[in-house]
């Protein structure tokens, strides 16, 4: 049984750190495929990356139900840290979650299991925060869509390998759909529901 004494701290400067992190995530969402850096540092519990921890401290509160994959949920330190610093309720049912934290991409459940929003409120969908190995090296993906001038290339090594095939469900669902935020250490790339993968090399 771990005690509260082992909790890593939150942001050293709450307001400015949260603002700066919010700016990074917003820029990432506005320019899909671009790699944004998260500057402020916070304590990172267990397997959580720096970027994920900063996003959690910035975006989560008691009004945002969370869903954790088994990699995240199996760490009591991590769950306690989230509870202490964000107060966000952790849900068993992924279909009502505002955010999903995925530590082990290979075990990402089918995207249909998350909240897809409704036609009246498409914003009530789950934002999936996926920790990946790298956003600098790996397979190239060509992305097109709003926020991208023509096409852009994202080099990343992502699990699950078929993430972008799975995200094709966004095409049929629009305006409903799933937004994805990829995190590798302090690098962040957003793949909002409007972004399409046109082609990819190997």
């Amino acid at each position: 049984m771990t005690t509260i004494a082992e909790l890593p701290p939150g942001f050293a400067d709450k307001v400015l750190s949260a603002q700066s992190t919010f700016r990074s995530v917003m820029d990432a969402m506005a320019r899909p495929g671009s790699v944004q850096r998260i500057v402020p540092g916070a304590g990172t519990p267990d397997t959580m990356m720096r970027g994920t921890a900063a996003i959690a401290l910035t975006l989560f509160d008691h009004d945002t139900p969370l869903w954790l994959d088994s990699r995240m949920a199996e760490s009591p330190d991590l769950v306690k840290w989230l509870k202490f610093h964000t107060g966000a309720p952790v849900m068993q049912d992924s279909s009502i979650a505002s955010f999903a934290l995925i530590g082990d991409g290979a075990a990402l459940p089918p995207l249909e299991r998350f909240a897809l929003g409704t036609s009246e409120y498409p914003d009530r969908s789950t934002t999936v925060i996926l920790q990946v190995e790298s956003l600098e090296a790996g397979r190239p993906f060509e992305l097109r869509g709003p926020g991208i001038d023509g096409a852009t290339t994202l080099q990343a090594s992502i699990k699950p390998f078929d993430l972008f095939e799975r995200l094709h469900l966004n095409e049929a669902l629009f305006p409903r759909g799933i937004d994805v935020v990829l995190v590798a250490d302090d690098a962040v790339v957003a793949i909002p529901r409007t972004t399409r993968v046109v082609s990819k090399g190997s």
Binding site: T3, I4, A5, E6, L7, P9, G10, F11, A12, D13, K14, F84, H85
Partner: protein
């Protein structure tokens, strides 16, 4: 378990004193102290709490209004975590209370903090209270009814 309860009671008593003390007084008393390394687990923040009221002893509870509260959490290098809550917007005071709460729990500093910080503050608080009570008591008027009667 008893030890745990004792510590709880001790922390509660310390909190009762610290919450009433001035931030400057706590800081002044802590200044003479060789403080161990510590970090802010939760930096001071302000928020609101709903105060519940009840008219009379058995009235239905109602929401009286909101009060500003500051809170903070501090962790010592040795692992003890202290929490501080106080009415008002003085974040620094909440941080100092959290620091004292952590020190009270620590084996090395618990006694010293109790002796040099909390006991003098408690004494001050008691003096203030008895003084106020005495001033009030001086204005006390005893009413009595003389026995009325024809005889």
């Amino acid at each position: 378990m008893t030890q745990h309860n004792d510590q709880q009671a001790q922390r509660k008593a310390a909190m009762a004193v610290l919450a009433q003390a001035e931030a400057g007084e706590i800081a002044a008393r802590l200044r003479n102290f060789a403080l161990p390394d510590h970090q802010d687990l939760r930096t001071p923040e302000n928020g609101l709490v709903m105060l519940r009221g009840r008219a009379g002893g058995d009235g239905a509870p109602f929401n009286l209004g909101e009060a500003t509260v500051s809170r903070a959490a501090v962790r010592l290098a040795s692992g003890e975590v202290g929490f501080g809550y106080t009415l008002g917007r003085d974040g620094e005071k909440a941080r100092l209370i959290a620091l004292c709460d952590a020190l009270v729990q620590s084996r090395d500093f618990g006694g010293a903090v109790e002796r040099d910080v909390i006991a003098p503050l408690r004494e001050q608080l008691m003096t203030r209270r008895t003084q106020a009570a005495a001033e009030t008591a001086a204005t006390k008027v005893d009413f009595y009814t003389m026995v009325r009667g024809e005889g």
